[in-house]
C-alpha cells in the first residue's frame, strides 16, 4: 500500500514537472493568445478587486488595532506607522492577497478546466488541432502572474490606510508621527519585495490549479475533488513560498 502511494506521489511529481516545463516552453514561445490573456486578466484579476480590498481593509484594521493598543501602552505610539507599513507591505498584503486568490481564482481555474475535461471539451479542443497548454494554461498563468502583484499593490495601500484610520481614531496617534515613522522605516525593497512575492504566488497558484483541473476524472465528484486539491495545494504553496521568499528578499 505504501509503495503504491509512493509510486503515485512520484508519478504526480514527474507529471507536474513535465507540465511545468511545457507551460514555460509555451510562455516563452509567445504563441499563446494575447486576447485570451487579457480576458483572463479581467476575469482573474479585475474581478478579484472587491474581495482584495475588503480583505486588506479588515486585515489592516485588525493588525493596527492590536499594535496601537500595545505600542501606546509602552509609550511607542510613534512607531506604529512604520511597523504597520512594514508588516503590510512585506507580509500581510502579499500573503493575505495570495491566500484569498488561491481560494477564489485557484478554485475557478480548477473547476473550469475540470468541467471542461469531464464534458469532453478538452478533447474537443485537441480534436480541433489546439494545443491545450497554449490555449488553456498559458493565458491563465501569465495573467495571474501579472495581476497578483497589482492586486497586492492595491491591498498594501488599502491595508495601510485602513490601519491609519484605526491608529488615528482608536489610538489617537498623530498623523504626522504616523507618516514620518513610515517614511523612516519603510524601504523601497519592502514594497518591491512584496510585489515580487505576488508574481511568484500568481504563477504558482495558476500552475497548480490548472494542473489539478486538467487531471480531473469521473464527473461532478471528480471536479469537486480536483478543485479542493487545487485550492489546498495553492494555499500551502503560498504559505511555504512566502516564508522562503521572505528569507531571500528581506535578509
Amino acid at each position: 500500500m505504501i509503495s503504491g502511494y509512493l509510486k503515485d506521489w512520484f508519478s504526480a511529481i514527474g507529471d507536474f514537472t513535465l507540465f511545468s516545463f511545457q507551460v514555460l516552453q509555451g510562455i516563452f514561445s509567445f504563441k499563446f493568445s494575447k486576447a485570451r490573456t487579457m480576458e483572463q486578466m479581467v476575469f482573474l484579476g479585475v474581478h478579484s478587486f472587491n474581495i482584495t480590498v475588503i480583505t486588506a481593509a479588515f486585515v489592516g484594521m485588525s493588525f493596527a488595532f492590536q499594535v496601537v493598543k500595545e505600542f501606546v501602552r509602552f509609550g511607542a505610539g510613534g512607531l506604529v506607522g512604520g511597523i504597520l507599513a512594514m508588516a503590510v507591505w512585506r507580509e500581510l498584503g502579499p500573503m493575505m492577497t495570495g491566500a484569498v486568490l488561491a481560494g477564489r481564482v485557484g478554485a475557478a481555474i480548477s473547476a473550469e478546466l475540470g468541467t471542461m475535461k469531464v464534458t469532453e471539451q478538452v478533447d474537443a479542443l485537441k480534436s480541433l488541432s489546439q494545443d491545450i497548454v497554449l490555449y488553456l494554461v498559458c493565458p491563465r498563468v501569465v495573467s495571474l502572474t501579472i495581476m497578483l502583484p497589482l492586486l497586492i499593490g492595491v491591498a498594501d495601500v488599502v491595508g495601510y490606510f485602513s490601519g491609519f484610520l484605526i491608529a488615528y481614531f482608536v489610538g489617537d496617534i498623530n498623523p504626522m508621527s504616523f507618516f514620518n515613522s513610515t517614511q523612516n522605516m519603510l524601504g523601497v525593497m519592502d514594497v518591491v519585495g512584496g510585489l515580487i512575492k505576488g508574481a511568484f504566488f500568481g504563477f504558482t497558484i495558476a500552475m497548480l490549479s490548472a494542473y489539478r483541473g486538467l487531471q480531473t476524472r469521473s464527473g461532478a465528484k471528480g471536479v469537486g475533488q480536483s478543485t479542493r486539491r487545487g485550492v489546498v495545494a495553492s494555499l500551502i504553496a503560498v504559505f511555504v513560498l512566502n516564508y522562503f521568499l521572505s528569507m531571500v528578499i528581506f535578509s
Partner: protein, 241 residues
C-alpha cells in the same frame, strides 16, 4: 488511410482493446458496434491521438501517430473530425463562435470573416438563425447538430461519430442519421459511426464491425451482420432476445 496494427489498450491494468488490426480506406462508411465498455469510443480517441496505445501502432496516411510531431498531429486532426457523444460544445462561446472556432483558430481568420461560412454550415445542419444562442439553451439534438457543424467547418476527410443518436427521440434520431448519410455522400467524407442504436448502424453505413472483449470479431454489411452465424453477434443485434 488509417491503419491499426496489433493495438492493445489498457486502463489501470484492465485490457480494453486486445490486438486490434483494422484498416480504413477513403470513402469507407462503417459502424462499430458492441456492448458498453468494449472499447469503441477508445478506438476513436486512439485514432485522433487523444490517448495512446499500450502497444501496437496507428498509422495515418502511412505515418505512425506515435512518431508524429505535435505540429504533424495537429495537421492530421484537421483532416479527421469527431462528433463527441456529449457534442462537447464550448459552453462559454455562442453557437456561431463554436462553429467558427476551427476556422478562426487554425486559419487565423476573424469571426467576422467567417460569419458567412458559419451561416452556410448552420443552414446545412438545419440550425439557421441560432448563431447568437448559447449552447446551454439548446436541446440535445440541437447540440449534436451544432457539434457536427463545428466538425465539418474545416471540411475534414474523415468524420468519426461517437454515439450520435444516443438519448434522442426517434424523429431527431432519423434527422441526425439523414444528416450523416447526406454529409458522407454529398461531400465524399469517410464515415465511422460508433453506435448502440440499431437504426443508426443499419441506416447510415455500408459495413458494420462488431467488437467483443476488446477484439473485432465480425465484419460485414448490415444484412450479413443481422443474420450472422456468430451467436454473440446475433444476440447483440437482436437486443438480447
Amino acid at each position: 488511410m488509417i491503419e491499426l496494427r496489433d493495438v492493445v489498450l489498457e486502463f489501470d491494468g484492465k485490457r480494453v482493446l486486445d490486438g486490434v488490426n483494422w484498416t480504413v480506406n477513403p470513402l469507407d462508411r462503417f459502424s462499430i458496434i458492441g456492448e458498453s465498455g468494449c472499447g469503441k469510443s477508445s478506438l476513436l480517441k486512439l485514432i485522433l491521438g487523444l490517448i495512446y496505445p499500450t502497444s501496437g501502432d496507428i498509422l495515418f496516411k502511412g505515418v505512425s501517430l506515435l512518431d508524429m510531431t505535435k505540429v504533424e498531429r495537429q495537421k492530421m486532426r484537421m483532416e479527421v473530425g469527431m462528433l463527441f457523444q456529449s457534442a462537447a460544445l464550448f459552453d462559454s462561446m455562442t453557437v456561431g463562435e463554436n462553429v467558427a472556432f476551427s476556422l478562426c483558430e487554425n486559419l487565423g481568420r476573424s469571426y467576422e470573416e467567417c460569419e458567412g461560412r458559419v451561416h452556410d454550415i448552420l443552414e446545412m445542419v438545419d440550425m439557421k438563425g441560432t448563431s447568437e444562442q448559447m449552447p446551454a439553451s439548446l436541446s440535445g439534438g440541437q447540440r449534436k447538430r451544432i457539434g457536427l457543424a463545428r466538425t465539418i467547418a474545416t471540411e475534414p476527410a474523415v468524420i468519426m461519430y461517437d454515439e450520435p443518436t444516443t438519448g434522442l427521440d426517434p424523429v431527431l434520431t432519423t434527422s441526425i442519421e439523414n444528416l450523416i448519410v447526406k454529409l458522407s455522400k454529398d461531400f465524399g467524407i469517410t464515415t465511422i459511426v460508433v453506435s448502440h442504436q440499431k437504426s443508426t448502424f443499419t441506416r447510415t453505413v455500408d459495413n458494420i464491425y462488431m467488437m467483443l472483449n476488446g477484439k473485432l470479431i465480425e465484419a460485414g454489411a448490415p444484412d450479413t451482420i443481422e443474420n450472422s452465424s456468430n451467436e454473440a453477434v446475433r444476440y447483440f443485434i437482436r437486443g438480447g432476445l
